[in-house]
């Protein structure tokens, strides 16, 4: 136990960086995912194709490979970012493919007549989507987005492979320093649970709230 308590400050830094990675890349994933979903339901065929290509490409590559491609491969074509920023970009781009699909599925749950009534009123496509379809779609999208956030928190551990000082990286360090593998990994697992369990609980709350507003 002592080894955990002695290194609490290292853990704290690791947790802080894991939280920062998660929040920043989730924000990015929501923004990109919203654009992808918009492309996928757009009336313009090339945009639909672009959206589908993005989703099919990104979600069928292991995220670890994406990180390596971005961090080790892209510098050769002049794209260089710090490990931390690289991890945020890759995790955002990766998670966005799933976010886009979740939002698209939500859009499909909204009755067709809603969009037809909006168009019949003279609203443009972006207005129809933004004022009528998305607000109704987002309600059914909260639970899958919650799951994606939890998956993302877990995926941030991949950033340890490019030396981002997050939770998994910290624990690997401590293990080499202290040779107390079991205890340290146990502590790390608890720390991840402390991050993901409240996220699951928060999603339940938001879902209930959204249901009442209907």
């Amino acid at each position: 136990m002592e080894v955990l308590l002695d290194n609490l400050d290292s853990f704290a830094i690791g947790i802080r960086n894991t939280v920062a990675l998660s929040l920043a890349s989730f924000a990015g994933a929501l923004a990109i995912g919203m654009i992808i979903a918009t492309f996928r339901v757009s009336p313009v065929p090339p945009l639909r194709a672009a959206g589908a290509t993005y989703v099919e490409t990104i979600r069928n590559i292991p995220p670890l490979v994406l990180i390596f491609v971005f961090f080790f491969g892209f510098p050769t074509i002049g794209i260089i970012y710090s490990p931390f920023v690289s991890a945020i970009i890759v995790l955002a781009v990766y998670t966005a493919a799933f976010v886009g699909e979740a939002i698209r599925a939500g859009v499909n749950t909204v009755a067709r007549g809603q969009a037809e009534a909006a168009r019949a009123l003279g609203l443009t496509f972006p207005q129809t989507l933004g004022l009528v379809v998305m607000p109704q779609a987002l309600r059914s999208v909260v639970p899958p987005l919650g799951n994606l956030f939890i998956a993302l928190v877990k995926n941030t551990s991949l950033a340890s492979t490019i030396s981002v000082f997050e939770l998994t990286f910290v624990s690997k360090r401590l293990i080499t320093d202290t040779a107390q593998g079991l205890l340290i990994f146990f502590g790390t697992a608890i720390a991840y649970l402390l991050l993901t369990l409240p996220a699951g609980w928060a999603v339940g709350r938001i879902e209930k709230k959204a249901a009442f507003q209907r």
């Binding site: 009755a111 009123l121 003279g122 004022l131």
Partner: protein
């Protein structure tokens, strides 16, 4: 009725869904101030006809003119035409996440660029007119079908449309609610609103329509004044159809 000025002209309009031809060589002209009721058996193309007029369904060939202008293919120009053509659906299609008042003000604010205050005044006036001002702050799911349909009519009227399209506005309603919706429509007709109404309500056709168009198999088989159509339909198919709906 300012006779003889066509507001809607459909010329040789054809429309298919895959192998199925839903509209065949449709020619129809509707004058300003005129009310045309479209009737015909299920699947004959009545809804499709209605929906091509504001291009919710694009057509394969032919032309549709509104106020002398061909329907724009897409984009903002099409949205502008749609703003001038009110549509009332069988299933109401009120925006489920918005109050009745916001349903009516949305087009005024977002399409017409009206201020919120001005839009709300106008919306309340219309809700009063269709008799549901007290429901302004309710959500659609809290209203009866008849009330929802009257709200949908108010939403369409708010845009000051040149033309109103009704696709079976009363067929999803319980009998006691049909009248409250038809009363609003009869009033609109009396005020000279140009209307194309898909409906099997013969009482409405007789009292409000100048002409009845009978459709079958994607074609308009007959267009005549309601007295004539109901008393002596010219085609065998129309006679057949009328005897069926009258029998019931």
């Amino acid at each position: 009725m300012t006779a003889g000025v066509p507001l809607v002209v459909m010329e040789d309009v054809n429309k298919s869904f895959g192998d199925l031809q839903a509209l065949k060589d449709i020619n129809l002209s509707v004058d300003k101030g005129e009310v045309v009721v479209v009737i015909g058996p299920s699947g004959s193309g009545k809804s499709t006809l209605c929906r091509t007029i504001n291009r919710l369904e694009p057509i394969d060939s032919g032309r549709i003119l509104i106020d002398g202008e061909p329907l724009p293919l897409e984009g903002r120009a099409l949205a502008r035409v749609r703003a001038d053509v009110g549509m009332v659906f069988q299933s109401f299609n009120l925006f489920a996440h918005k109050s009745i008042l916001k349903n009516v003000t949305m087009g005024l604010i977002k399409v017409r660029g009206m201020s919120r205050a001005e839009a709300e005044d106008k919306a309340m006036e219309l809700l009063k007119r269709v008799g549901i001002a007290d429901k302004a702050h309710r959500h659609p799911a809290e209203l009866s079908g008849g009330q929802q349909q009257r709200a949908a009519i108010a939403r369409a009227l708010a845009m000051n449309p040149k033309l109103m399209l009704f696709d079976e506005p009363t067929s999803a309603l319980d009998p006691e609610m049909i009248k409250e919706v038809l009363d609003v429509m009869v009033e609109l007709a009396a005020e000279g609103t140009t209307m194309i109404v898909v409906s099997h309500e013969m009482g409405f056709a007789r009292s409000a329509a100048q002409r009845v168009a009978f459709m079958d198999g994607g074609r308009i088989l007959e267009v005549s004044p309601p007295e004539q159509f109901f008393a002596a339909p010219q085609t065998e198919r129309a006679r057949d159809f009328l005897s069926k709906i009258l029998a019931h």
